[in-house]
């Protein structure tokens, strides 16, 4: 497979990864740089910003994709210039942010899932307020703003999916779960459709903007599912992965699922992603293994980068 001509791509691929191995803890140095990487051609990766073993997720400002927000151990890191300069925009009272989402209708409004609740900024991350009233077990792993309506946000917490329609002033439980909801996604093809994966409740599907949810048949609740994704190029295609669950794909809108783990070194897959620019291209990140790529939607795989990576997030950021 020849390197992709960078000019053909409309997105850069950002990767949040720990390359320091299983034994990495605070206070130990690592042999290679962990944290944030970017690839402009899907083959070569450059490290950006600090060496950081707990860089969990990233999102961008849809009104200015050069502005990136990164959820990491220290809180939230913001870069206004695609990773040339950084600033920790949270203070001592917010730690270990897990997820961030920008309100596309009001991009100065940013929401973050943190271990003790939900943090909201109304000034592009400069200042933050905790806003999770009504959520008893407030651990929040995933957060997603409905791109069609200002102030409408879904939060995947320890005990369920919560919805706010007033910018986080009030929250209501829309789907109880036994354990954490690890990923929330809105269909790029139909904004009414949402896809969630959980730790102990399998995968969930909503066709009414996240107001009601149903378990997706055929997906076991036995495994911790790490993330689910829509294919931005094909409304019928989805993928999810998890610990022991390998990589699973659907090509009929989630009705049936096929295992696409063959060719990967293990079934413990931390992250899966679907490329918005390249047809049939799927990425999978088995735990402590290289990042893998497939150009036939998971039927065959090849190593793409690194040797022992824990990839926390794979994000495609528009160049313009």
């Amino acid at each position: 497979m020849p390197a992709v001509a960078a000019a053909e791509l409309k997105h850069d691929l950002y990767v949040c990864t720990n390359l320091s191995g299983q034994g990495s803890v605070m206070g130990r140095s690592g042999p290679v740089l962990s944290g944030l990487y970017r690839s402009s051609d899907r083959e070569n990766f450059e490290h950006l910003g600090p060496h950081h073993i707990r860089t969990f997720s990233l999102t961008y400002d849809p009104s200015d994709p050069a502005r990136l927000y990164i959820a990491l151990l220290d809180g939230i890191l913001r870069t206004p210039d695609r990773g040339q300069t950084f600033r920790i925009v949270t203070s001592w009272d917010m730690t270990e942010a897990k997820s961030i989402s920008v309100d596309a209708q009001r991009p100065e409004h940013v929401y973050a899932g943190i271990p003790d609740g939900i943090a909201v900024s109304h000034d592009r991350g400069q200042t933050w307020t905790r806003m999770n009233a009504g959520i008893r077990r407030a651990y929040t792993e995933s957060i997603l703003v409905d791109r069609t309506k200002e102030g409408r946000v879904l939060a995947g917490t320890e005990k369920g999916i919560f919805l706010t329609e007033d910018g986080a002033r009030t929250w209501r439980l829309v789907q109880a779960t036994d354990k954490v909801t690890y990923s929330l996604r809105q269909s790029p093809h139909d904004p009414k459709i949402f896809f969630a994966v959980t730790s102990a409740d399998g995968a969930l599907w909503s066709t009414d903007r996240g107001v009601t949810w149903k378990r997706i048949a055929g997906i076991s609740a036995e495994r911790t599912l790490h993330n689910g994704e829509f294919d931005p190029r094909n409304a019928q295609r989805l993928a999810y992965c998890g610990w022991g669950a390998g990589v699973q794909v659907s090509e009929d809108g989630g009705k049936t699922w096929n295992d696409r783990t063959v060719g990967l070194p293990k079934r413990e897959v931390w992250k899966v992603a679907i490329d918005p620019d390249l047809p049939d291209r799927l990425y999978a990140a088995p735990y402590l293994e290289p990042l893998y790529v497939s150009d036939d939607f998971g039927r065959t795989w090849r190593k793409l980068q690194w040797e022992k990576a824990t990839v926390f997030d794979l994000v495609f950021v528009p160049r313009k």
């Binding site: 299983q22 034994g23 220290d74 001592w92 824990t310």
Partner: protein, 618 residues
């Protein structure tokens, strides 16, 4: 059966070790444990110990070999005010490859302040540049944050008025000062009203003490300076009251696989040696001890605390309330209370918490520690525990994905975490109650638990161990007689480090331990006879329970899942356990005010008014 276990010569194990030369106190006979009455002599000895640490660490630097001149050696040399040129040159090199996060921050803060009038401009520039380009992680737990924010506060003080482009985190000096101050105040408020989260750690004692000494010594803001001084007093009082000849006894939020057996072998023993002079220092002065030693001359341990650690007229019971580490998941309570009890005599100490999963991975819930002439290499302790591990525990205290964690933890300096033979860690299926020198631990272990068993630690250093037909195990450690009662059948397993493990593979289970001084009895046989004669009822079905009249005449009734009773009265932990209570330390929950007393001496640390008040009773 009577088993005499030979003592292993500690010195034969370590004498060949490198780097031990010039650590005279580590190799010397153990120091006297009696208090030094003359204050001037006490201070001289304290300062001499400091100099011993500095001279040893400085001596590790090999002339002409910069590779042997690390941050610790530089700190020692700067404290001794020697070789500033060489130190400066090496700092320039070391600042090119910073690593280790907050464990880099506090050594570099130390040498920055020690070197203010010694380092070359190039070295100072290199340090300054490192704090712009190197991004140390803030960490995820209390000791990390204490180190991080104390050093941020001091370095922002060193470089005030600088812009966000001058700091790794993109904040200004003013913002860093405000943020670090806010966190430190928050932590002090929490620690002095509801207790520390990482309480009574055999290692992390250093990670609290050293930053507080830095703050007390170098903070310009008089409030922060005072707070640093007061917290250091607080931490030292909290430590010394639970020491037996310098050894940190009883329950710990965190210890490790070595120290849980060899109780002395911990950084905490450096502080006992430095402050109290009543035990040998650990090898290399506990590692981090060097950074305390650099400016230890700026601290004068209050005599009232010194005497609590060294001069005890009688046995005493000390109660404490602490809190759990932050709970993120699987709990409705962010910081659950921890109720500690410690009973100390000159011969032994029994200490415990209430059991349960109070901390992740490295919790140690109870033990009996007996006094020994020389603690080096000695496993002078006995305890039992319910081995447990699980993703639910880790999800409670960490924010990471669940499944990879148990195995990953074993690569992160906690190798026994998922081992059936483990002797370290808490369990949700263990409930403990202690009164005086009697302890009862009960377990009711469900099928879902990783192991349905109790592990008991029986040391190589027990002088005697007998399995009695009565069901009691009788042992002697030092001058302490020990009666240990497994509540269910057991078998023995050898331990790699010596001694053996009592393995009791039953879900309904527990341990009774009764300690006593040998001097209380005419002899061994009388002790055993008295124990055999104590009223005891054990039931295991459907729920484990014990009714036991202790050697001290207390009628203790405990049932798994129910509040304990003593002499018919229900024990109410929430109401009865203060922040501190006992003959030496007293503080109400929420007060921020600790009264430290010994004999006629009294010191009150009041964090509400930021005052230290000393009094002497006429």
């Amino acid at each position: 059966m009577k088993i005499f276990i030979p003592l292993v010569s500690f010195f034969t194990l370590v004498a060949a070790g490198c780097g031990l030369r010039a650590q005279p106190s580590f190799l010397a006979p153990p120091p006297a444990t009696a208090p030094v009455e003359d204050p001037a002599m006490r201070r001289d000895q304290y300062l001499a110990r400091r100099m011993e640490v500095l001279r040893w660490r400085a001596s590790l630097a090999t002339p002409g070999d910069p590779a042997k001149l690390g941050l610790a050696e530089i700190a020692a040399k700067l404290a001794l005010r020697e070789d500033a040129e060489a130190c400066s040159a090496q700092i320039v090199e070391l600042m090119k490859k910073p690593a280790a996060d907050m464990f880099w921050m506090f050594p570099v803060t130390c040498i920055s302040y020690l070197g203010r009038d010694q380092l070359t401009p190039a070295a100072k520039t290199a340090i300054r540049e490192a704090w712009r380009t190197y991004y140390p992680l803030r960490g995820d737990t209390e000791n990390h944050w204490v180190m991080y924010y104390t050093t941020m506060h001091l370095m922002a003080q060193l470089w005030p008025g600088e812009g966000e482009d001058r700091w790794f985190n993109g904040k200004t000096s003013a913002e860093i000062t405000a943020e670090s101050r806010a966190w430190l105040l928050h932590w002090m408020e929490l620690a002095t009203t509801v207790g520390q989260g990482e309480y009574d750690c055999t290692h992390y004692l250093g990670e609290y003490s050293i930053p507080m000494l830095f703050l007390a010594t170098w903070a310009k803001d008089p409030e922060m300076k005072q707070r640093g001084r007061m917290m250091l007093d607080w931490v030292m009082a909290d430590f010394t009251v639970e020491t037996l000849n310098g050894i940190y006894i009883g329950s710990h939020a965190r210890t490790d696989d070595t120290t849980v057996l060899e109780k002395w072998n911990a950084l905490s023993s450096y502080f006992a040696w430095q402050m109290l002079g009543n035990c040998p220092p650990p090898a290399a002065y506990g590692g981090w001890g060097i950074y305390f030693a650099t400016i230890a001359d700026h601290y004068d341990l209050p005599e009232v605390i010194y005497r609590i650690g060294t001069d005890r007229a009688a046995a005493y019971t000390h109660f404490e309330r602490k809190r759990t580490r932050h709970r993120w998941r699987n709990s409705d309570v962010r910081n659950a209370p921890v109720y500690k009890t410690s009973y100390l005599t000159k011969d032994y100490a029994l200490g415990s918490d209430q059991g349960g999963l109070l901390q992740p991975i490295q919790q140690h819930s109870w033990d009996l520690t007996w006094a020994v002439a020389d603690p080096r290499g000695m496993h002078n302790t006995i305890f039992s525990m319910q081995p447990f591990y699980g993703t639910d525990e880790l999800m409670m205290y960490f924010t990471e994905m669940p499944d990879y964690m148990p195995t990953a933890v074993t690569s992160q300096g906690k190798p026994t975490y998922i081992a059936e033979s483990k002797l370290l860690g808490g369990s949700p299926y263990e409930q403990i109650f202690q009164r005086d020198d009697t302890l009862i631990s009960l377990s009711d272990i469900p099928d879902s638990a990783p192991w349905k068993q109790i592990n008991g630690f029986f040391s190589k250093d027990l002088a005697v161990l007998e399995e009695d037909a009565s069901g009691w195990l009788f042992a002697q450690g030092g001058q302490t007689y020990i009666a240990y009662r497994p509540l269910a059948p057991y078998e023995w397993r050898p331990l790699e480090k010596g001694g053996k493990r009592l393995l009791s593979p039953h879900a309904k289970n527990g341990t009774i331990l009764q300690a006593a001084a040998a001097a209380e009895f005419k002899g061994w046989e009388e002790f055993k006879a008295k124990i055999r004669g104590l009223p005891l009822e054990i039931k295991l079905q459907p729920t484990p329970g014990v009714k036991f009249t202790s050697l001290r005449g207390k009628k203790i009734e405990v049932t798994y899942g129910a509040a304990p009773r003593v002499d018919g009265r229900v024990v109410d932990y929430a109401r009865e356990w203060k922040l501190f209570s006992g003959p030496y330390l007293n503080a109400e929950v929420g007060s921020g005010k600790l009264s430290i007393t010994h004999g006629r001496l009294k010191r009150v640390l009041d964090f509400k008014t930021l005052t230290i008040t000393d009094a002497v009773r006429p």
